[in-house]
Symmetry: C2
Subunit: 471 residues, 2 copies
């Protein structure tokens, strides 16, 4: 049945060898393993469209896959083995870059690191970054509306998306790569595809907004008496520097302790003990006036007022990188330490310090022996709220036995606070049941209606994002 | 038949008196006049939902209307008189405002001016502005994805939209007002409603992003040898000031001449004659360092390099307002001078100077006697490209006889340049045929499919945005 596909794509573009396919059948977190009919790797938009037309004709599902770094198993096929995995890895060309237009057009398989490098070579910058940047691809970044550490200033992927090209579920091509800054022609399909997780079609290329290159970068690590002071500090820094603050990452004492315990070469950035820390990064596109002195002055004022307990401003790029390593190693340190039920939640920004305190207390009381580590993008009202298995337990068994109950408990707290159970990771497979449980009927009906309208055969990434109708 | 509605809404919320309805049956530009069964003005979301349920039960169309300032007759009912006009004017409450969260929640009928005032009273700012701010409402701004003069820095309405509440076409309520900075739960309905022109439901409230108040504002008027120099200047100013430039408006000599001829109290801002002008506004949220001196230095450098012919930086708020009045009076001056076929087009930013030159020449050659005035948001790649009727002609008769042909010609030039036939005004009624002609089959199919999925009865603002299937 797949002989036609093999003919369309050639030997580099088609395999059904189990050994070749194996790495792409399990998600990055190792939570789901599926099966696939074949792994297809079109080299062009035209080949991707040909795959889609074949899939329509044969009623075969397609699972688009970029860097396979989904946090919610959003690019992993189901266990039935019906689907094709459509890898974008061979569609990895930067089609154009214009410093004058602040515009870069990249095919879906281009990695984020490659986008960064190309922008830098043109004297510009693509201001979205995340830990998986060496693997994560443009198609995946669009399809998950990726976040990362610079959302505070530049917004998530959808805010940087000036156009898309996509193969629609009927095999037709949507050509929307114009790169226009303003375009009010009908429903914004570009925005609909951002975060659609491949369920409405295959994003084959994107037009991305660039910004001026950075001339000054200031990184500071701040110790705080409490999480509420963090927000006060953020507003003070914003007032002192305008839009300069682009990362504002919250790190609790217990997360820092895990990093220091498990990650070689790390050391405490401040002398004393502090309940909370934030990592601040601010940038400026002109060399003058000096940004560092304004931030140091704002930190000194905040210290005098008791908002800040202690702070250090990195004196070199190496020191800045060392501070960032503390933040970026939290997930790795957590994994080294054991198992946790992980959540990616948001509430309104001003409510986050209070939410962290109350939700942590409620969760640790309800599930004795657990410890909550809540860290991340405080400036966006988004933290990773991870509930660690009791020290005495078999972590894996605890997760299997208790994980769903813990997650439902945490998500109900989030719901009561007006928040989201998926701030940046999406729904994929792993959050599908909780999305269906918590989303509300109007939202679910709209999501299902849109899916059914654009993909009536249900060919595009089935089993992700769109909850099946209730039995 | 409408007695039930009268009972639901009370005397303040219902009228079918032709005199009362008359002002709302014709669009702001006077291009379309419709008829309506009644004018309903619900005082609350619940009443709006009740109207929608009644409309579903009785298969009666609803035309949502805010300030009735659509440029494309997007809020004007059709001539058949079947529809209700649903005015949002009584839903005019600001529900909440939080300086700490940079968040304002306003009902659909709140005017933009009121949003500005409320933000200012809280020490913050809502950074979207347009000429109709005293009439334009939040619901309309969302539903048209409004642009204006600050898109360059802050983006259009969708970039400032942190949540919506909407009555869906089945009368159910979508409650998405959380005001979250990050939320990746399924398709982004908020973004889908932004620019949907009321065709998918009635936006009843919106959560809007605020930004820090302005501490410094610098306004300059610059004379230029050519339009290409304008872009060079923009990139220089951006490099000199970071994100400070928020308006960069292009004014050709012929537009300035019309303003000086028709608008009392205006005078030429510069001594000499210049083919092109730009109005620049830059702001900073902190009082230091001084922004004016950096802009003056950049302008002086540009003048030394021949990029700028002459420039003046406003020395007072009154002088700044006088410069803005020159820009904002262009449309009024054009109306006073006669009739034009108007277009709201975008192309990639870097291509705009060349597009203006070539499209103007082509249009004036193809339609002898016409004169093109192209002005507006150069920094966004968006100009208003207006083709003035030949001086010797009866303008109104020319527009009726030639307008469609002129518009098709201009739109084809835009299409060839990879641009949009509606950068910020939307489709409404006036651009529906041209949208259908130029959009491409994949885009049209997707727009129709989404509309049919979410509004299967076709009740919400029929005859706008969604081209009917071809006969």
């Amino acid at each position: 049945m797949t002989d036609d596909l093999r003919a369309i794509l050639g030997p580099k573009g088609f395999t059904d060898d189990p050994v070749d396919m194996a790495p792409w059948l399990t998600d990055w977190r190792g939570r789901r393993t599926g099966r696939a009919r074949a792994l297809v790797s079109p080299a062009s938009t035209q080949e991707a469209a040909a795959v889609a037309r074949w899939a329509v004709a044969n009623r075969v599902p397609i699972v688009p896959q970029g860097g396979n770094t989904s946090m919610v198993a959003g690019a992993t096929p189901s266990a039935d083995g019906d689907a094709l995995i459509l890898s974008t890895r061979r569609m990895a060309r930067i089609r154009s870059i214009s410093a004058e237009d602040d515009l870069l057009v990249a095919e879906a398989g281009v990695t984020l690191q490659t986008v960064h490098d190309a922008a830098e070579a043109a004297g510009r910058r693509f201001p979205l970054s995340l830990a998986a940047k060496g693997s994560a691809t443009v198609g995946g970044l669009v399809s998950t509306n990726a976040g990362g550490t610079q959302v505070l200033r530049f917004g998530p992927m959808r805010a940087l998306l000036l156009g898309i090209e996509a193969v629609l579920p009927d095999g037709s091509l949507f050509e929307g790569l114009s790169g226009l800054r303003k375009d009010n022609r009908g429903y914004d399909l570009r925005q609909l595809f951002a975060g659609a997780e491949g369920t409405l079609g295959i994003v084959t290329a994107a037009a991305l907004r660039l910004v001026p290159a950075v001339a000054q970068r200031v990184v500071a690590w701040v110790g705080l008496p409490d999480a509420g002071s963090a927000l006060t500090l953020l507003r003070r820094l914003e007032a002192a520097t305008g839009d300069a603050v682009e990362s504002f990452e919250l790190v609790p004492a217990n997360a820092l302790a895990l990093v220091l315990a498990h990650i070689p070469g790390t050391r405490a950035p401040l002398a004393g003990e502090h309940a909370w820390h934030v990592l601040v990064e601010a940038t400026a596109v002109s060399a003058e006036p000096p940004l560092g002195s304004r931030i140091e002055a704002a930190l000194a004022d905040a210290a005098a007022d008791g908002v800040v307990a202690d702070a250090i401003v990195a004196a070199s790029g190496a020191q800045a990188d060392a501070l960032w390593k503390l933040r970026e190693s939290i997930s790795e340190a957590e994994r080294a330490d054991g198992v946790a039920a992980k959540h990616d939640v948001s509430v309104p920004v001003a409510a986050m310090p209070g939410f962290i305190a109350s939700a942590r207390a409620a969760t640790e009381a309800r599930f004795p022996g657990t410890r909550v580590i809540a860290f991340g993008h405080l400036g966006d009202g988004n933290v990773h709220f991870n509930v660690r298995a009791p020290a005495a337990s078999d972590g894996a068994a605890w997760l299997v036995g208790q994980g769903d109950e813990v997650s439902a408990f945490v998500h109900d707290l989030v719901g009561a606070a007006g928040g989201s159970i998926s701030a940046e990771h999406g729904i994929g497979q792993l959050k599908l049941a909780e999305f269906a449980r918590t989303a509300g009927s109007a939202r679910l009906a709209a999501v299902r209606a849109i899916k059914a309208a654009l993909d009536p055969l249900g060919i595009m990434n089935p089993g992700k994002l769109v909850p099946p109708p209730q039995a």
